[in-house]
């Protein structure tokens, strides 16, 4: 089970890596590479949102993109109307959180579970996708922002310094802000998971009936976890919108939801680092395939995904962890006596 955060060396290692990247990358790397990494940072936040509710709340959402898109559109509409980005960024967290709580109430108090829950979230995302795709005409605008239908909203403002709408961030600064957000969310989630609240969530994930019999309000707990995940996904959507300077209905698409699922699964369910790594590896691969005109990119990516499930069913991070622990044990045993080590190798 979870160790206390403060005694887990892994936590400090991650934190150190994160901070190092945040401060060193802009000095060492060129502008283009920074912009590339920014993309991974944004999507990693999105991956974390699902990694948290799935891995530590046992809630499987097939439609996490509903919140991602909601956050993105909230940010786009608000920032175009207000003319600055701090309040929109907060709104992009708050509105999806509220919506997530409402949807969570609707689902968990209706005792939906398992695949049915997944399908309801998927359907919600699809409804958003349908409706937002339908907003092409000029009559669909909120304030100054035209929703634009399939083509989406262009010219979304870049982030500015809070309180100074004229002070825009350059790409390197934007990267640092996003990296900061990622680190804060990672730390906050680690602390939350280690708290009493988090332990109850894990208890529910392991055995819902037992948790209920012990007197915990399973439904309320789940609604809260779900809403937190929704808020984080919304924030990721807002970061995505400002990073790309445009947003289109694909933010709500099944593909976007499925991507998050794949990242979390590939990286490892039940960890927070896993989703981040899964997201980086697979996004990098997608991007790389498009630059090499070898085979059909989509076929290659599909093949890799299938193999990943068959060969690394637990995900990258847990598998590596297991290998490391096995290796460590072997090495220790090797020190004690060669014979034992040989035996262990046989057993493995």
């Amino acid at each position: 089970m979870e160790k206390p955060v403060t005694r887990d060396p892994g936590f400090y290692i991650m934190l150190a890596i994160g901070l190092a990247v945040m401060f060193i990358a802009p000095v060492w790397l060129d502008l283009f590479t920074i912009m590339q990494i920014t993309q991974y940072v944004v999507l990693a936040v999105f991956a974390l949102s699902l990694g948290y509710i799935w891995g530590f709340g046992g809630i499987l959402s097939f439609g996490q993109a509903a919140f991602f898109g909601l956050g993105a559109y909230t940010f786009a509409v608000a920032s175009i109307n207000i003319g600055e980005t701090t309040i929109p960024l907060i709104l992009a967290f708050v509105i999806p959180t509220i919506f997530g709580a409402a949807l969570g109430y609707f689902m968990f108090y209706g005792r939906l579970s398992d695949v049915y829950l997944g399908v309801v979230t998927l359907v919600v995302a699809l409804i958003f996708w349908k409706l937002i795709n339908h907003t092409a005409g000029p009559e669909y605008s909120i304030g100054e922002a035209r929703l634009g239908g399939f083509n989406g909203i262009p010219s979304i403002p870049t982030l500015n310094i809070p309180g100074e709408p004229d002070a825009w961030l350059d790409p390197a600064q934007m990267f640092q802000v996003f990296m900061g957000i990622l680190i804060v969310i990672y730390v906050a989630l680690r602390l939350l998971i280690a708290s009493d609240f988090g332990r109850v969530s894990i208890g529910i994930r392991e055995n819902e009936t037992r948790a209920a019999l012990l007197g915990y309000d399973v439904r309320r707990q789940k609604v809260i976890v779900f809403a937190i995940g929704a808020g984080i996904a919304g924030l990721a959507g807002a970061m995505w919108a400002t990073y790309q300077a445009f947003i289109d209905p694909n933010a709500f698409s099944m593909e976007m939801s499925a991507k998050a699922l794949v990242w979390v699964m590939a990286g490892g369910v039940g960890t927070l680092v896993g989703p981040i790594i899964g997201c980086i590896v697979l996004q990098w691969l997608t991007l790389k395939l498009g630059t090499m005109a070898l085979l059909n990119s989509i076929a290659v990516l599909g093949g890799i995904m299938m193999l990943l499930v068959l060969i690394l069913p637990k995900g990258i991070v847990p598998t590596l962890k297991m290998l490391a622990i096995n290796g460590w044990t072997l090495w220790r045993q090797g020190k004690i006596g060669g014979a034992v080590a040989k035996k262990a190798v046989k057993h493995d």
Binding site: L112, Y116, V123, A299, L301, G302, M305, V309
Partner: protein
């Protein structure tokens, strides 16, 4: 009056469409608890079989009713042997692996056949209902959907194979103990589910045409129909298709296709909230 008849016919056709789209998926999901995310691409494969084989001179009906189910059924068995059998009991891994498979199939078909193939014309032509013209082919769809459901029902209800399948579905461990080779049952179930999907794809091809990416448009509809229907293959599929088809077509006639699609989704949402295990989780509980 004519118009009302045409609208009613269109609704029945929409229901038949949903039944065809989702029957194969319902069998696989209902009996094996495996979500086949490549379902849309299995439909596509059925469509391609028809288009390619008629291009080589095979009779259109033979291609649709015989060749497509066989080809896709065999493909399904292969997929089950190579991939799915390693993933039983892991519903999410199966989802992920079949999603990869769907991309692999889209890319693979594009590489083999290119991204544009001439379709087959819809057979039978049109007929007049009062002042309106409707495709005769609509009746083929409706009859095919009805026959398909009756056939599945009869097999499950009256044959030994059906009995074994139902037993495996209800309690695989018990079935295994009683000497049933559940692995064989699963393989055949997946193959039959795939064959039905291939048939559906073949029947839809003359109306929608075939392109490698066509599956994406169908996966959500079929998936939602199956889940809304619940665990029972026949009653589930039929009741969900009837309800969703009527609602979406009704709305389409009244206010256009966007709201028709949205109405289908909202209806599914409300249904699942009221009946969290799907329609057959509460009503028609003991049906198949």
């Amino acid at each position: 009056m004519d118009y009302a008849l045409v609208v009613a016919l269109e609704m029945v056709r929409a229901i038949a469409w949903l039944v065809l789209l989702s029957a194969g998926l319902a069998i696989i999901f209902g009996m094996m608890r495996i979500i086949n995310f490549a379902h849309g691409e299995f439909l596509m494969l059925g469509g391609y079989t028809v288009v390619i084989s008629t291009g080589h001179g095979v009779n259109e009906w033979v291609a649709m009713l015989v060749l497509a189910p066989i080809v896709v059924g065999i493909f399904g068995v292969l997929v089950e042997r190579l991939v799915i059998q390693r993933l039983y009991g892991r519903i999410l891994d199966s989802l992920l692996a079949t999603w990869g498979l769907s991309m692999l199939m889209i890319g693979g078909v594009t590489m083999i056949f290119g991204n544009s193939v001439t379709g087959v014309a819809t057979p039978l032509g049109g007929m007049a209902i009062g002042a309106y013209q409707v495709p005769r082919y609509n009746f083929v769809l409706i009859i095919a959907a009805a026959l398909l459901l009756v056939a599945i029902w009869a097999v499950l209800k009256f044959t030994k194979a059906g009995l074994i399948a139902r037993a495996t579905m209800q309690n695989p461990d018990m079935a295994e103990t009683l000497g049933i080779r559940t692995r064989w049952v699963y393989m055949l179930t997946f193959g039959i589910g795939s064959a039905i999907t291939g048939l559906a794809g073949a029947l839809l091809a003359p109306l929608t045409g075939v392109v490698p990416t066509m599956g994406v448009n169908f996966i959500a509809q079929s998936f939602i129909t199956v889940i809304t229907g619940g665990a029972a293959v026949i009653t589930g599929t039929l009741s969900a298709a009837t309800l969703l088809g009527t609602i979406s077509q009704g709305t389409t006639f009244l206010s256009g296709p966007v709201y028709g699609d949205a109405a289908l989704l909202v209806a599914a949402l409300v249904l699942l909230r009221l009946l969290p295990q799907g329609i057959t989780g509460r009503i028609f509980k003991r049906s198949i």
